[in-house]
């Protein structure tokens, strides 16, 4: 599955660049002291995995404390894609941003996050800044609002490149910026570099943000709903771009999305979130074809496919709890679940192993072979359908793409 690593200029600079991972004098913008320390910590990073354990995020305001995310754990392997899938308000974006420590002091983040052997939550803010944008890239959701409207595209890319010391001089940074824009598939990158954000289309802006995110060769790229604001044709191009970059750079990809179709295209693994918790997690092909949690099944059933017979779209009844509303006892999905039993409302079910590398938080469906056979595949004309053809994927294991 892994294509041979191609040596693009960017690749060469990041993987074999002798400057990386060694002490070097601080650039003009920071005290050398801070950067040296961060370099020391990144020295040991092998093409590393991003591991998040027991993440919990609480928003504190004057009146209340809101638990947006609890007990979330996931791993992004190098070169692989993990899709964090869920509706709005499920806590997926919050999880991604909390991993990057993008929240301020009104937000409590608990748990741990490590990049290779680097403990992200143990770093000081200054050290974390050296990691962000360099070893951990972030592609924000709203391309229009995420670029400084008053600065040219090329300048914004070059700024990051110079900040992290990938290039030292203005000219070199400018040239690298143009290279990066070309690498993300922007035609006429020289002209685009001189343009302002408002002069570009949404797809171009998104690519520019991707260019910024990969500019320093990150080990893992976190993309927050990168395709939501784009139309379908552009979406496909952007996803293809991610795949190509992964091949070229060997980086891991954490993609946050609510779009099942996107997940189907890119996911090596899928983690499904609902009401701030993980409800299912496993290989993409398996989760998306033989879900072990009723919510996942519902998500899949709500997506039209060529096989969906007329009148066969099944929406999940009810509404998810408002973002952050805390469910005290029992499974958060119980009210909307066709399979719920008494026990479901008493205790919040833990994630349990339901297959090789596949966990789900549903003892009713996931825990029983019969239940899973019943639930497997899109629900048509009712919450339970037996023997329905599974969309598109003919074998449970195999590349999702």
């Amino acid at each position: 599955m892994t294509a041979p690593l191609m040596t693009t200029p960017l690749m060469a600079a990041t993987v074999t660049d002798p400057r990386l991972g060694q002490d070097r004098p601080g650039g003009p913008l920071h005290p050398g002291f801070v950067r040296r320390r961060a370099s020391r910590s990144t020295r040991g990073i092998a093409p590393g995995a991003l591991r998040v354990q027991d993440l919990a995020v609480t928003f504190r305001s004057k009146r209340a404390a809101v638990r947006a995310v609890r007990e979330v754990s996931f791993t992004v392997e190098p070169g692989r894609t993990l899709v964090l899938l869920g509706e709005s308000g499920s806590g997926k974006s919050v999880s991604a941003r909390a991993t990057l420590r993008l929240y301020g002091d009104r937000v409590d983040v608990e748990g741990s996050a490590t990049l290779a052997d680097l403990d992200l939550f143990g770093l000081s803010e200054a050290e974390m800044r050296a990691v962000r944008g360099k070893s951990l890239g972030f592609v924000p959701q709203d391309a229009g609002g995420s670029l400084d409207p008053l600065r040219r595209i090329g300048a914004q890319v070059a700024e990051v490149v110079r900040w992290h010391g990938v290039e030292r001089t203005r000219r070199a940074a400018r040239d690298r910026a143009v290279d990066l824009l070309a690498q993300v598939g922007i035609p006429d990158p020289g002209r685009v570099a001189r343009a302002y954000p408002h002069e570009l289309s949404g797809g171009m802006r998104q690519r520019a943000l991707i260019a910024i995110a990969i500019s320093c060769g990150p080990r893992v790229l976190i993309a927050d709903e990168p395709t939501t604001a784009l139309d379908v044709t552009i979406q496909a191009q952007v996803l293809e771009l991610f795949a190509r970059l992964q091949d070229e750079l060997g980086m891991g990809l954490l993609m946050v999305t609510h779009d099942v179709g996107v997940a189907e295209q890119v996911a090596d693994r899928v983690a499904v979130m609902y009401a701030g918790r993980l409800v299912e997690e496993g290989p993409g092909a398996v989760v998306l074809s033989q879900p072990a949690h009723p919510y996942t099944a519902g998500l899949l059933g709500a997506v039209p496919t060529p096989e969906t017979p007329r009148g066969g779209l099944q929406a999940i009844a009810g509404q998810p709890p408002p973002a952050g509303a805390v469910v005290a006892d029992g499974c958060a999905f119980a009210d909307r679940c066709a399979f719920a039993v008494e026990a479901c409302r008493r205790e919040s079910p833990p994630l349990a192993e339901v297959g090789p590398g596949h966990r789900a938080a549903c003892p009713v469906v996931g825990g029983s072979v019969v239940g899973r056979a019943v639930v497997g595949g899109p629900a048509v004309g009712g919450p339970v359908a037996v023997g329905q053809p599974v969309r598109g994927v003919s074998h449970p294991e195999g590349p999702a793409s």
Binding site: S61, A64, A325
Partner: protein, 299 residues
């Protein structure tokens, strides 16, 4: 299963109302920023109306032998001016023209300006351009200068000052009205009203005005404060109300001439205008919170 708490930061759900912009939760309590200045202004208006009863002396009662008594003199809480007249009384009597010079221009300009703004926003392109260009001409003058030029041309006197100020205020009010109407022009409820066959006048009265009303009210409240300040300034220049009539601006003008003998006295009408201006401004802010007005035109 129990839901423990809802986050306080949840946005309220929009409630479809006549105007489509109502909020589900209305403020149950009136904020202090409305009560305090509102009370002050109310008392001021009452004092002005009942001046003969409230003021200790008449506006021109006194003898010149008693001139320029300092604050706290017996019988004259705020002293006397250069003619020997009691300042406190003149302050109360002066509230009449000063408040009129503030409120009347805003009402007049409010009506005319709103009309022009609504028409400009809803009528065809040519009418819009015509009206906006004419307003632009007025707008191309600093407001103070326009007021002075018009007042100078028309001559002194309360009525002329009011006319001048009205003309000056038409353009800004029209502009706010036009911006607001343009903003809601393409809203769903407007299309619904038109589709249901309602005539333009009824649409304006029943859909447009209730929606732009709050913004205009907030803006005009602040404008009253501004108009009072302008009126005071006109009197300072010798336009506006001529002595011996009591008016805050003209009191300021005459007392300023004796600045070196009794400096503090001149401050009294100055502070009066200042405080009244603050009151109207804060009231405007308070109304904006109370009516939950969210618009970039009223910052």
């Amino acid at each position: 299963m129990s839901v423990v708490e809802l986050p306080a930061s949840l946005p309220d759900l929009p409630v479809p109302g006549i105007g489509g912009t109502a909020r589900a939760t209305h403020r149950r309590h009136i904020p202090l920023t409305v009560i305090i200045p509102g009370t002050f202004i109310l008392l001021l208006i009452l004092a002005a109306i009942f001046a003969p009863v409230v003021a200790p002396y008449g506006p021109t009662a006194g003898s010149i032998a008693n001139r320029l008594q300092p604050i706290g003199s017996p019988g004259h809480l705020l002293g006397t001016d250069e003619q020997g007249w009691d300042i406190l009384s003149r302050l109360i009597w002066g509230a009449r023209p000063s408040l009129l010079e503030g409120i009347v221009p805003v009402v007049v300009a409010g009506v005319i300006g709103t009309f022009l703004g609504v028409v400009a926003a809803l009528a065809g392109r040519r009418t819009h351009t015509l009206i906006m260009r004419c307003l632009d001409v007025l707008y191309s003058f600093p407001a103070v200068l326009l007021a002075i030029a018009l007042a100078a041309a028309l001559g002194a006197g309360v009525v002329n000052a009011i006319v001048a100020l009205s003309i000056v205020l038409i353009a800004p009010i029209a502009r706010v009205a036009e911006t607001e109407v343009a903003r809601i022009r393409s809203a769903d409820f407007m299309e619904a009203a038109r589709a249901s066959g309602a005539s333009w006048p009824s649409i304006v009265v029943r859909q447009v005005l209730p929606n732009i009303g709050p913004v205009l009210l907030v803006y005009c409240t602040a404008m009253v404060g501004l108009a009072i300040v302008f009126a005071g300034g006109l009197s300072l220049l010798g336009l506006g109300v001529p002595p011996p009539a009591a008016e805050w601006g003209s009191m300021l003008s005459t007392l300023d001439q004796d600045l070196y003998t009794q400096p503090v006295l001149a401050l009294i009408p100055a502070i009066m205008i200042f405080v009244t201006s603050i009151a109207f401004n804060v009231l405007g802010d308070g109304l904006r919170d109370l009516l939950d007005v969210r618009s970039e035109t009223v910052s």
